[in-house]
Each structure stands twice: as structure tokens, then as C-alpha cells.
């Protein structure tokens, strides 16, 4: 065989087999879309990914951990706000560097499941959506420089106009209570006592510094069902719901703080099912049997909930950031899980796991009023940053 023919054969064989090899890897699809006042970077894979954010000037780094290696499928970036996307790889950690055209921007994110999608919304700080979409397309002239989360004395908060438009009532939920004492430590510290102490401190702090009403789901050691906590929040027309908990684990070493918000991994499937029910029921009330009608109610409720997910994630992130800098506990990050109490609430809602009562060292901290003060302070500051962001709307 002549060398030329051999090369042709090789090319053919590789041509046939290389796509097959590449197809074995899960694909991570990346795209950028512009909306009226923000750009959305969307990552999509068939498997769930864990991720973390790192912010530096005009860049946002997204560290994505994958169980397997991934094939990244991008498209050219054409956006008013996002300048470039760059990928780097360290083992099974993929680092996406999002470079914005402006240094001053805020970001929000949320996730969807089946398939897993991570949506990152980049909003330039100049683009306060007061004059919606009326702005010309060229890059905004020299926007104010981004200021990293400012840690300042709560006294300064009085100058803010909080509650001016958005937040009127905040509900704080001290976890557990009454017969249900929650997690307990080796030295006898009870979760229900710690959560109440922190909630009372947080209430005092918010009421002293912000023009908002604070309602506690319980202000003493009483039993209260999760449904009642949600109902109380909804009846008070809460704009935000913050549940305070202390964690417990089978392993003694577990430590650190984390903030949860709701995961609605049923959302995609339920949306399809809802569409099916709507399309196939000519006379809705006659054709849908009771079970389906119940399902429909549930789905509508879930969809209402999912409207708050983005804001809940934002609040969770602000609180987590402050817990890390202020409280000095290990950073376990923000997480999503189907917490019952969060499903009952009709507003953005988070659940703060302050530290572990099952860890003797952290139990001592949780029982210490000074530590409780700093947790309350951290949650308060996270709340403040959240209100600053959304009071502009």
C-alpha cells in the first residue's frame, strides 16, 4: 500500500471513531443570551454539578466540579454585557472565567434539574431597571466601580431608605420548639433554645436599624407545626422568610455554616404535565378528576414557589458571605434542598444552618451569647445587602 493510501485509511478510521469516543463524555453546553438589562450565562449538562463562585473586578469565576470529564460545547459570545468566556481545567474541576465589559456588575444565579442547568445572570450596576430597555445598545459610559460587599457598622444603615418600596414585613423562624427540641449537643445544648436566642437578637437588630416589621413564628418555647409557620408568614404578608437552625450529624467532625434555599427539581416535569392537563381538558372542571385537580393545584403552587427561587438564592448567598467573614465558621456554601418549611412560604425564603450542635467545639460556640450575637449580625448584614439590591427595583 502506498503511504498516501495508508494516510487516507488512517484519516477515515479516525474520522469514524473519534466522534464516537467523544460522545462517551457528557456534554456541557454553554451559551450567553442578552435580556433587557442583564445577560444570562447558561450551563447545561445531563448530570448535576457542584459549583462555586469567585469574584474579582470585571471577572466572575465559576468553579464547576464534575464526577467525570466533560466535553464543553460553546458558541461565540455576542453580548452587550459579557466580553468573553474562558475555560480552564484542573483535574475534574472546570473553571469558567466570565469577563464582563464593565467592572461594576452584580450577579445572580439559580439552577434547574433534568437536565441540570445553572443560570448566571450578570447585571451591570449602571443598569438599574428604572427606565426599562429604553437604553441604547452601546456600552454604558464609565459606570461606577463595583464595591465589594461593604462591611460597615449597622448604625450607618439608618441612612438607607429600607422598606421604601419592597420589604415591609420580615418573618424570622426560630427552628423547632416545645416537645420538638431539634438537634442536641453532648453538653445538653438544645437546638430550639439556640435558634430562639439568635432569632430574638436578629429581630432586635433589624428593628433597631431598618424601617421594617419583624414577626417571629414563635417567641417562646412552644410547639409549632411547619405548616403553621408558613401560614403565619403568609397571613402577615411576609416579604422575606428566614428560618434559623443549628445542624446535627452522625459524624462528630461535621462543622461549619450553610444556607439553604428550596430546590424544586420537579419543576420541569411538572411544567410539562401542567401543559398536558391544560391542553387536554376541554371542559376543565368536568374532565379533570379529583386527583388530577389536586395535582394541578400542587403544580401551580410549585410554580409560584419557583418564582421566588432566584431571589431566595440571592439572599442565601448574601447571608453565607457574611457568615464566612463575620462568624469564622467553615464555609459549607449555599445549598438547595426540599425543606418542608420553605415549601409552605409564599415569598423568598432561606434556612440558615448556623453551626453543628453535634460537634462539641461548635456546640460550645452556639451556646455562647457572643457567638449568637455575631451570627445575628451576619444574617442582618446579608439581609441588608439583599434589601439594597432589590430596593432599587
Amino acid at each position: 500500500m502506498r503511504p498516501g493510501a495508508a494516510a487516507l485509511w488512517l484519516a477515515l478510521v479516525l474520522g469514524v471513531f473519534s466522534p464516537t469516543i467523544a460522545q462517551g463524555q457528557p456534554v456541557l453546553k454553554v451559551r450567553v443570551r442578552d435580556f433587557s438589562d442583564y445577560s444570562r450565562v447558561a450551563l447545561e449538562t445531563p448530570q448535576t454539578l457542584t459549583f462555586a463562585f469567585e469574584r474579582a473586578g470585571a471577572t466572575l469565576r465559576v468553579k464547576v466540579d464534575s464526577r467525570t470529564s466533560l466535553r464543553i460545547l460553546g458558541e461565540p459570545v455576542d453580548s452587550r454585557i459579557v466580553k468573553s468566556l474562558n475555560w480552564a481545567k484542573q483535574g475534574n474541576t472546570y473553571i469558567l472565567t466570565i469577563e464582563a465589559k464593565v467592572a461594576g456588575f452584580n450577579y445572580n444565579f439559580y439552577t434547574l434539574s433534568n437536565p441540570f442547568q445553572l443560570m448566571i445572570d450578570i447585571t451591570p450596576e449602571a443598569a438599574v431597571p428604572s427606565r426599562p430597555a429604553a437604553k441604547p445598545a452601546p456600552p454604558p459610559p464609565a459606570p461606577p466601580v463595583y464595591q465589594p460587599p461593604v462591611v460597615e457598622a449597622p448604625a450607618q444603615a439608618e441612612t438607607l431608605p429600607p422598606g421604601a418600596k419592597g420589604i415591609r414585613t420580615i418573618v424570622i423562624d426560630p427552628g423547632h420548639g416545645g416537645l420538638e427540641s431539634g438537634a442536641n449537643g453532648r453538653f445538653g445544648t438544645l437546638e430550639k433554645e439556640v435558634t430562639l436566642a439568635i432569632a430574638l437578637k436578629l429581630k432586635a437588630l433589624v428593628e433597631r436599624n431598618m424601617a421594617v416589621r419583624v414577626v417571629l413564628t414563635r417567641d417562646k418555647d412552644i410547639d409549632m407545626s411547619l405548616a403553621d409557620r408558613g401560614a403565619l408568614s403568609n397571613n402577615n404578608d411576609a416579604m422575606l422568610f428566614i428560618s434559623i437552625h443549628a445542624n446535627g450529624s452522625r459524624r462528630k467532625n461535621s462543622n461549619g455554616s450553610e444556607v439553604y434555599f428550596l430546590s424544586l427539581n420537579a419543576a420541569d416535569e411538572d411544567t410539562r404535565r401542567l401543559a398536558y392537563l391544560e391542553n387536554n381538558a376541554g371542559e376543565l372542571e368536568q374532565k379533570i378528576d379529583r386527583q388530577d385537580a389536586d395535582d394541578l393545584q400542587m403544580i401551580l403552587w410549585d410554580m409560584a414557589q419557583s418564582a421566588f427561587i432566584k431571589k431566595s438564592g440571592q439572599l442565601a448567598e448574601f447571608i453565607q458571605t457574611e457568615l464566612n467573614t463575620l462568624v469564622g465558621t467553615g464555609n459549607r456554601g449555599i445549598k438547595q434542598a426540599p425543606f418542608k418549611v420553605l415549601t409552605e412560604v409564599a415569598c423568598p425564603a432561606v434556612l440558615v444552618e448556623t453551626a453543628f450542635l453535634s460537634n462539641p467545639e461548635e456546640e460550645r460556640k452556639l451556646a455562647d451569647p457572643a457567638f449568637q450575637d455575631s451570627v445575628a449580625q451576619a444574617v442582618y448584614r446579608g439581609l441588608l445587602n439583599y434589601i439594597r439590591l432589590y430596593s432599587q427595583e
Binding site: T48, G175, H245, R250, N253, P338, K340
Partner: protein, 199 residues
């Protein structure tokens, strides 16, 4: 006077009884021969598989346990008796989960827990009914509760591809939560982001 009469009666009754019995036997035997007796080929088809073969059927499954080293769930492979139905087999998967790890991981279900019933629906939901110990003896705290709930859910969805969601019941009834955290009032999707590495 009475005795001979009675003797005659007894003999008559006995004779009648024998006749009836013989007729009945003849009737039933004859009937069976006529209509019910299956042909030899049908017999083979209807015969259940020999029990010895079914006993030998094993299946490798993956169970999820907690670990002393991190807050994740760790897969552990194990061989269990297969079948006869997927739901019955899944019951054994859960029993193994309760029995605990053989390689030093931490079981996330109280050892006193019993699996009462498991059934799969055509819509891909596995209903799993546990005894009350799962909730009553549950260690308090989110991390502990999340580990328990998702060890159950992941262990079922991972081993049974038809199972998409898992509905956990306690003593046959729906419960809000095991211990105040994770919602059990709807079937749960698995959460593989809690898993340390692919088995």
C-alpha cells in the same frame, strides 16, 4: 321387633351410601379425564421454574452510606438475592441499607427500622413504607436527615432505572418530615450531588 327393622334400615343406608360414593367417584374421575386433563406439552409450559434455579439468582446493587470523613454519601456494592419482582427485590435493598456498611461507612437509617412494604407505580414512583423507628429514632439535624432521606431515595433510583421518584411513608401514612426538615409530602427525586464519587 324393633331390632331387625333397624338392622335392615342400617344395611339399606349403608348400601345407598356405597352406591352414591361409587357414582360420585366415577362422575368426578370421568369428568376430569374428559375435560380438565391437559396435554403433556401444556403441562410443561405451565410448570413453574425449578425453585433451585431461582435461589441461585443474584444481583449486584449499590447502596449509599454516610462517612466519617465528609458530609457526602458513599456508594458500596453488594450482592443480593434477585427478584421475584423488582419491588420485592427493592425491599431487600432497603433491608441491606438498614443492616449497614461492611466497609466502615455509617448507616443513615436506625437499625431497628423495618421495611413494611415497597411498591412501584407505572408512573415511576416507588412507594416505600417504613416502620415508625425511621422517624422516631432519627438523629436530629439537617445533615443527618438529608443523609437518611437521600440514602433511601438514591439507593432505589440508582438500582432501578424505572424508578424516577421515591415516596417515603411511615407506618403506612404520609408524614410531613422525618424530623422537621426534608419534605416527605411529595415523592422525591434523587440527589446525586450528595454522592462522593460514581461507584
Amino acid at each position: 321387633m324393633k331390632q331387625p327393622l333397624e338392622r335392615t334400615q342400617v344395611i339399606a343406608l349403608a348400601a345407598l351410601f356405597i352406591v352414591i360414593t361409587v357414582l360420585a367417584v366415577a362422575f368426578f374421575l370421568g369428568g376430569r379425564e374428559e375435560s380438565v386433563m391437559p396435554s403433556s406439552s401444556t403441562l410443561k409450559e405451565m410448570a413453574p421454574p425449578p425453585p433451585a434455579a431461582a435461589d441461585l439468582q443474584k444481583k449486584k446493587v449499590v447502596l449509599f452510606f454516610a462517612s466519617e470523613n465528609d458530609s457526602l454519601l458513599h456508594p458500596e456494592e453488594r450482592e443480593i438475592e434477585a427478584g421475584p419482582t423488582p419491588a420485592q427485590e427493592a425491599g431487600r435493598v432497603l433491608e441491606e441499607l438498614i443492616r449497614g456498611s461492611r466497609v466502615g461507612y455509617i448507616s443513615t437509617l436506625p437499625p431497628e427500622t423495618k421495611v413494611r412494604q415497597v411498591f412501584f407505580t407505572r408512573e415511576g414512583i416507588a412507594y416505600v413504607d417504613f416502620s415508625r423507628e425511621l422517624s422516631a429514632n432519627q438523629l436530629s439535624g439537617s445533615e443527618a436527615e438529608i443523609a437518611t432521606v437521600f440514602a433511601v431515595v438514591n439507593s432505589l433510583t440508582y438500582n432501578y432505572k424505572d424508578v424516577k421518584r421515591v415516596f417515603i411513608l411511615i407506618d403506612g401514612i404520609e408524614k410531613d418530615t422525618l424530623d422537621g426538615h426534608i419534605s416527605l409530602d411529595k415523592p422525591l427525586f434523587p440527589n446525586y450531588s450528595l454522592v462522593a464519587q460514581q461507584p
